[in-house]
Symmetry: C2
Subunit: 97 residues, 2 copies
DNA sequence: CTGGTAAGCAACCATAAGGTTGCGCGTGGA
DNA sequence: TCCACGCGCAACCTTATGGTTGCTTACCAG
């Protein structure tokens, strides 16, 4: 999932989708500087990480954010960060004794 | 920075360092399945993202976490997530009017 | 049913990334 | 002083990745 987040283009896509409004590929492509196919590929990567989801509507497919996953990522970082904190606390305690 | 987090080996390294105790490269290498050079490369990537820092002590260099950066990453995710939330709230409000 | 628009599929290309091997260098201990 | 240990540097190999082009499929409107 972090790998999916680790690309500028994909982060930009997330940013666009963070607007809340579902968007079609061609709309996401507009002004992106890369091809529609490129965008499509990136979207599939994001979808593979569960960060985004698409629903077909007529001849266009609409993509939207999957917030749960973002929260998961945040929690993972919290975990490491917190583990670090408590370890340091223990260490400090140990040193001060 | 997410790119730096987006590799299993590097996440594992962070996990080890999250123990709070600074570790040498050879120690981090032990049981990692890859070469010392590989670990070294990954550490430099992490350092490049500011997630980790090293200090030379005698003939070994000790690596430790840089917690601030983890918090930054978390904040970034929060930002997207929150932007999504508020947009949805606005949208909901709009729909309900 | 015909044409245009939105997207999927597949092949392909160049470069970046993960990993290895080989060698040289400084430091600490006997 | 000499040797072993822990690292850094550089070259190299292989596979993933970001991106493109070309062609096909699906849907809607006239």
């Amino acid at each position: 999932m972090f790998a999916a987040l680790g690309d500028e283009t994909r982060l930009r896509l997330l940013g666009q989708l963070a607007g809340g409004e579902p968007m079609s590929i061609s709309r996401l492509t507009a002004g992106s500087g890369i091809t529609r196919q490129g965008v499509s590929k990136h979207l599939r990567v994001l979808a593979g990480a569960g960060l985004v989801r698409s629903t077909r509507r007529g001849k266009e497919s609409l993509w939207r954010l999957e917030r749960r996953r973002l929260e998961e990522a945040r929690r993972s970082l919290d975990l490491i960060s917190r583990q670090w904190d408590t370890s340091l606390a223990r260490l400090k305690l140990f040193v001060e004794e």
